[in-house]
């Protein structure tokens, strides 16, 4: 069902954990109860470090892992623009019906960035749905 790459990110997820003094924290979930929490360490508008915790299926965990890999070191704008399609592509594809599971990561990233912006006194950006 899942390809090697997805299984690798699922079995050995990168960036798992929490950041105590995170600059931005975001959480997102879906009606099935899947849930992701993401922690960003930001310096000079760049994501210096990122950690996550996810409750969900293998696709959700692998997407979380891949998404955090993809935004690490990127600017906030780049991170904001990361699509779940790009995450799925980097994972070399998700089974049909499991594409949705990667949406949670994008939403969590958006919320973390907005959390950071709020703390900086900036206006929050509208989340796409």
């Amino acid at each position: 069902m899942y390809n090697k790459k997805v299984m690798d990110h699922f079995m050995n997820p990168r960036n798992v954990g929490e950041i105590e003094d995170a600059d931005g924290v975001g959480e997102a979930g879906n009606p099935h109860g899947d849930h992701m929490k993401i922690f960003l360490k930001i310096r000079d508008n760049r994501i210096e470090d990122v950690k996550f915790k996810t409750f969900g299926c293998a696709a959700a965990i692998a997407s979380s892992s891949m998404a955090t890999e993809m935004i690490k070191g990127k600017t906030l704008e780049e991170a904001w623009n990361l699509t779940n399609e790009a995450v799925a592509e980097a994972l070399e594809g998700l089974p049909s019906g499991k594409l949705e599971c990667s949406v949670v990561s994008r939403e969590a990233i958006h919320r973390a960035i907005n959390d950071y912006r709020k703390k900086q006194g900036l206006e929050t950006l509208p989340e796409q749905t």
Binding site: M1, P13, G33, D34, H35, M36, K53, F55, A58, G97
Partner: protein, 396 residues
């Protein structure tokens, strides 16, 4: 971690086919290929083999062989029993009584009947998934034409009070069907004694080490039922279609083998299961679903809080352990199990549910292995779960 080992613990989904069963089938795939309806010799061989299998099954059920009808599996048996009875008796009434924890092969035919003007009562079940016979009696109406309650649940393993329900059905002269797919080869049945009030009973060979795609419906003599498969005159004109001779022979051999070892099998399953359960219950925030005693000897259904079932299943698979998150038919779907919902398990706990079902080839070493890898995997998944609080971590 321990050295990887292949451990199949999903026997409720399907079993391997025993080598003796495959051996018995082969001649009917090869030289004895005749159509059992044919008059000439090689057709008669097929016919005789089908009748011998019918005898084997009848003997195991304490039934008459004229009460056995072969079908393409548990699903067809259930569909036939439910829809066939409903349509045959629709002039007498339109009310059916069943439970919310039936297999979809019973539930969906009932839902279909609802679209056809029938009225279905889904009995309440308690937290163990048990049906109260008094509730059955209370639900009976003037126009009740069928009661269907499964013998044992495929997810949580709970065994229902079939004799008591059968007696009530009998008193009210309402046909009583039970889906015994999970029970055959595990619990001895006797349609003349213990199950004398069961009028229809479904079974499927691939749950007791027979092949897939073959099953049977026990139909007590005199039961009024419409055909489901109309056509040729096979199965005494009740179930048309060229007989799956090899499959039927396989079913016959499988039931014969299972019946000869019922007690031994039961003892072996219980012993392994109880040790596995005791070991797994040491994991914190872990609970057993289904009735603690009134349950199938080979079934464990456990919920591990803070983790999600598919992840658990796939990590176990990576370690060589095959099991299931609910019924096999609904895995891959995002819907939470209707059985766990019916017993009132909260959705967040339902998600972390695992079904381990033991079988013939499992060994004590398999139990050791699962007791080693499962707690580690639970720990690993909890470590990445946003819901799990570190202070709760108490695995070694």
């Amino acid at each position: 971690m321990a050295e990887k080992r292949f451990v199949y613990m999903d026997h409720a989904a399907t079993t391997f086919t025993k080598p003796e069963v495959v051996e018995a089938m082969l001649p009917f795939l090869k030289e004895h290929f005749g159509n059992p309806s044919s008059l000439y010799s090689i057709g008669r061989e097929g016919k005789e083999a089908v009748e011998a299998a019918r005898e084997q099954l009848a003997k195991a059920l304490g039934a008459n062989s004229e009460e056995i009808y072969f079908t393409s599996g548990g699903t067809e048996s259930d569909n036939w029993a439910i829809k066939g009875t409903a349509f045959a008796r629709r002039k007498r009434g339109k009310h059916i009584i069943t439970t919310p924890i039936e297999h979809h092969a019973v539930l969906y035919p009932c839902e279909y009947l609802e679209t056809q003007g029938f009225d279905v009562t889904y009995l309440p079940v308690d937290g163990y998934g048990l049906v109260d016979p008094a509730e059955v009696e209370a639900a009976i109406r003037e126009d009740t034409i069928l009661i269907s309650v499964m013998y044992a649940n495929n997810e949580i393993g709970t065994i229902e009070p079939i004799s008591e329900i059968g007696e009530i059905a009998q008193e009210h002269e309402i046909p009583f069907h039970t889906d015994a797919v999970q029970v055959i080869g595990k619990i001895p049945l006797d349609m003349k004694k213990k199950e004398r009030n069961v009028d229809m009973l479904s079974l499927s060979a691939h749950k007791f080490y027979g092949p897939k795609g073959i099953g049977a419906l026990y139909l007590r003599e005199g039961i009024e039922i419409d055909n489901c498969m109309h056509g040729g005159g096979q199965e005494r004109k009740k179930r048309a279609g060229t007989e799956n001779v090899a499959g039927i022979v396989g079913l016959g051999k499988a039931i014969e083998l299972a019946s000869a070892k019922l007690e031994e099998h039961d003892r072996k399953m219980r012993k392994m299961r109880d040790r596995l359960l005791a070991g797994l219950l040491r994991i914190p925030h872990c609970r057993l679903n289904g009735h603690p005693e009134k349950r199938l000897p080979d079934n464990l259904n456990l919920s591990f809080e803070y983790i999600e079932g598919e992840s658990l299943l796939l990590m176990l698979d990576e370690m060589g352990v095959c099991c299931s998150t609910g019924s096999a038919c609904s895995s891959g779907s995002l819907e939470p199990s209707h059985v766990l919902r019916a017993i009132g398990l909260p959705p967040e706990i339902t998600q972390g549910t695992l079904r381990l079902t033991l079988g013939d080839e499992n060994t004590e070493e398999d139990i050791d292995y699962v007791l080693e890898v499962l707690p580690e995997i639970v720990g690993k998944l909890r470590a990445i779960s946003p819901f799990y609080k570190p202070e709760n971590i108490c695995e070694k």
